[in-house]
């Protein structure tokens, strides 16, 4: 087939209009050529014999009449061993390699292979000659980091295939053909270690989707106890700037109990990615004892990188997540921030002169967001094992107002909502997840009734505190005042967590159960004080002891001592039956 080439007839920002003569496919990739660089772009609309393409790079220097070569392929990513520990841009260019080649700046039009072509992998075949396989079945494995990376039958193959040839165990690069397959019609396919998959299409080579029910322990107390996330669940973290979205995401990426973490820095600051980039290789994963970087992958399309690639980056990320899910792994995608992605859609929609919806976001915003979050989930694979993709997306609402379209569209499709709150972050109450506004539909690690009781205390405490602002402390009854102190105690010792302290930063599920039961005991105890000053003093002291308790490891002698002190303090003021 001869090359399908069109000509540019219009340029508006990163949108080019291209006149074509041969057939063009919606969403296919084209390359706009200027001088000696070819700029990657994607067809987003076709009208008559003009196609409109969004260019993933800066378009300056392009001229009317410049050629655009259509590739015939959709925007795709490379899937294979060697993805982990990598840092890619939104189009899966490895950034460290790019830096080696281009220096300090990102040169447009430079595209590198996502996977290392030099590296050899120790391949062990699993499928044998004559086996009948379908898409997603394991052909063999290679060790990658801490687990076996499955080399699978290409996902694009439909129907049943027979293995006609396999390679012996050995050391190969990713372009190695590891098996040849043939179907009933006699089509032959050579399966390599690496395969490509279009990013905007979900990978569905599994038996069925299941309901997410297992809690995913993030070791953040307010999340696991009050607003839990399930493996395979989806949740969102909206919040105004400075409320701690990114810090929360970083903590989660360190401590979450999953096999693979994918961080998608989408339109955010480069500095934050740099922290992850430089720190993770130094940190050890408590689960495996190896470097945290070995289970982490970063897709980084920061705010100053081209907007269209930002739109692609979340899809690149979720596709890689789905790929690892196919290996029976639990994968977590942390997307920061989905608002920037929505804004990228808005910019494109504006250039296409589509009729705008609310705040000029396109009318299809909701369905696009819903389709993205639907790519999370738990699945049962064809071999009976399960894998999951959990998606946590931050939302950066304009002005911190949750009524804006992106937050609202997201809330409709997620299973948990961790709303960050300006007042809480201003009061340095971290994590600043609002305990009354947030919600979760997933089951948690702690007894549900205890949590319901604690929630009641928080609500009542809030009411009392509102009332006290009007009538003052003098006008509040001591019973109400104690309720208020209890809610403040719960807030200070359990909801707040010091993310910079070695022990306090991560509270495991067992510890949460244990500590929360103790705190529940305090919340429900009937306590008596002669006056409000005595009550306040006692609670302040208890808060300080309990905070110290949070700072020691559970197996230490101090842990026991402090617990006994808490018990003794409680006994002093409790009603004696």
């Amino acid at each position: 087939m001869s090359e399908n080439v069109g000509q540019i007839v219009g340029i508006n920002g990163n949108l080019i209009t291209v006149h074509f003569d041969n057939p063009v496919t919606q969403s296919e990739v084209g390359y706009a050529r200027t001088g000696d660089v070819a700029l990657k772009s994607e067809v987003i609309r076709i009208r008559g014999d003009n196609a409109e393409l969004q260019v993933f790079e800066d378009t300056s220097g392009l001229k009317v009449g410049d050629p655009v070569a259509f590739s015939g392929n959709l925007l795709a990513v490379e899937l294979g061993p060697g993805l982990l520990a990598q840092v890619y841009d939104g189009l899966q260019n490895p950034l460290p390699k790019l830096a080696e080649q281009c220096g300090f700046f990102l040169q447009r039009g430079t595209y590198l292979k996502a996977l290392d072509r030099e590296k050899k992998w120790a391949y062990t075949p699993k499928a044998r000659k004559g086996d009948e396989v379908t898409a997603g079945d394991t052909l063999g494995t290679v060790p990658e980091g801490i687990f076996e990376h499955r080399i699978m039958v290409p996902f694009r193959l439909a129907g049943k295939w027979q293995v006609t040839e396999t390679v012996a165990a050995g050391s190969y690069d990713v372009d190695q053909v590891v098996a040849k397959l043939r179907n009933e019609r006699g089509d032959e396919v050579a399966a390599k270690m690496v395969q490509e998959w279009p990013v905007k299409v979900p990978i569905k080579a599994y038996a069925e989707r299941l309901r997410p029910t297992d809690p995913l322990v993030t070791k953040v107390r307010i999340i696991d106890t009050f607003f839990p996330v399930a493996r395979g669940g989806v949740y969102c973290i909206p919040g105004p700037f400075g409320a701690g979205k990114t810090v929360l995401q970083q903590i989660t990426s360190k401590h979450a109990d999953v096999d693979v973490v994918l961080v998608a820095a989408c339109g955010e600051r480069a500095g934050e990615v740099v922290e992850t980039l430089r720190e993770f290789p130094e940190l050890t994963d408590p689960r495996t004892g190896k470097s945290l970087m070995e289970r982490t992958l970063i897709i980084c399309n920061t705010s100053s990188m081209p907007v269209a690639a930002r739109e692609a980056s979340v899809y690149t990320a979720v596709t890689i997540c789905e790929y690892y899910r196919q290996m029976g792994l639990n994968v977590m995608l942390l997307a920061d921030s989905t608002s920037r992605w929505a804004q990228a859609l808005r910019e494109m929609s504006g250039r296409l002169e589509e009729i705008p919806g609310e705040e000029a976001f396109p009318a299809y915003l909701e369905s696009v967001i819903a389709a993205f979050y639907e790519r999370g989930g738990v699945v049962r694979l064809k071999d009976g094992t399960t894998g999951s993709v959990t998606i946590g997306g931050t939302v950066s609402p304009a002005g911190g107002n949750f009524d804006e379209p992106v937050t609202q569209a997201t809330l409709k499709v997620v299973g948990a909502f961790h709303g960050l709150n300006r007042e809480r972050s201003d009061a340095r109450r971290y994590p600043a997840i609002h305990p009354l506004d947030s919600w979760s539909k997933y089951p948690g690690v702690v007894d549900a009734q205890q949590v319901a009781q604690a929630r009641k205390t928080l609500r009542q405490g809030n009411e009392v505190s509102q009332m006290m602002k009007v009538v003052g402390e003098e006008g509040t009854s001591i019973e109400d005042f104690v309720v208020y102190l209890k809610s403040e105690f719960l807030d200070a010792t359990y909801l707040q967590q010091n993310s910079f302290h070695d022990v306090d930063a991560a509270t495991g599920a067992d510890r949460q159960k244990y500590v929360f039961a103790k705190i529940h005991g305090i919340l429900t105890a009937k306590v008596f004080f002669p006056d409000k000053d005595a009550a306040r003093k006692w609670f302040l002291q208890l808060t300080s002891v309990t905070k110290d308790w949070n700072l020691v490891t559970m197996d230490s002698a101090e842990f026991k001592q402090l617990e006994q002190r808490i018990d003794a303090m409680l006994a002093e003021v409790s009603e004696h039956a």
Binding site: G61, V64, F105, G242, V274, S304, Q343, G350, E359
Partner: protein, 433 residues
Amino acid sequence: MHKVYHRIEQIAGNVITVRAEGVANGELAQVVGTLSTSLAQVIRLEKDKVFLQVFAGSRGISTDGQVRFLGHKMDVSFTEALLGRVFNGSGQPRDNGPELDENRIAIGGPSVNPAKRIIPRKMVRTGIPMIDVFNSLVESQKLPIFAAAGEPYNELLARIALQAEVDIIILGGMGLKHDDYLQFRDTLEANGALSRSILFIHTAADPTVECQMVPDISLAVAEQFALQNKRVLVLLTDMTSFADALKEIAITMEQIPANRGYPGDLYSQLASRYEKAVDFEGAGSITILAVTTMPGDDVTHPVPDNTGYITEGQFYLRNGRIEPFGSLSRLKQQVNGKTREDHRTVMNTMIQLYASYKETLEKQSMGFRMSAWDNKLLRYGERFEKEMMDLSVNIPLEAALDLGWQIMADCFEPAETGISSKLTEQFWPKQTA
């Protein structure tokens, strides 16, 4: 020889349209009007229709005016000779000095590869306790000053510029009052800093399009110096004028506005400028301090709101003081652990006590009775505001920490501050007033 086009089809706002062929997106052109000759930049192409934004504005351009395409993008001369000079938004001298034409560099270049950045770790000392102690400025940080109109933000910028230990200062002025520009220049000159400064000034009377160029031109020059191992401080004032210039062009081009008339890509536009702040691995750095005036003192206005999501913190300037609440330097954790061991403790304790003071003030205003503790707080708060928050205070970090201890010691018992006994034994002043 470049072809000259004589037929201008449309003039709307500062955008003109001509029919021409072989023109590249982003290319510069020279437009000759009856009043003056100006540069213009291609912003959109539609078949043979070319849309240009005219830097000097479209006033005085006639339909038979001359348009000559120059075949290159917007650029600026980069030489040591820039130092001590003043230019406008198109890079033309506005100080009667000679024009510079050697070593042209393109402006608005590609962004830095994140893999080539390093974690910033050098503090920029300013002598202002509210910054040094409470929200340390870090090299390569991008930080806006949010202020309502009328606050002394330009004075603050000038002070930081003079005191910061940097090699080169670049001032990008957008929509500046002419008086403010002169004041900046005179302050720099009086303190002998003009010779290491470069000024790109757009005043309120100059054409809007030039306003739009100021950040790009300032940052392009800054980037070149940083690559030569220089530590550069870029001051931009006022970014709200820049955003308004973007808005003006967007509306002229009939783009659909997103929020209060601002274009949908406001975030990306601001980010591509702020993200130029960088600490290069193995070279210099760029630190950006920018003023963002808040129309109506409203932080949810699109410009401060989008800025807050981009920058690494913000300073709120209110009633002539840097507000301790809301002001934040996201990078302070990188440096304030390595200054003096009591730095973080003083920072946290003083702010907590100040917060308690604010609560007490509220109680007082509602007529509740003041306890002995309340009275201590009132005394503390007053001294804190006078001796720490006032912008005229100019002391090094260590002196500011000592002062902090002194103020606390004059008002409280050690145990009342909640500071661990280990630190109070070491730092609590022995003599109290």
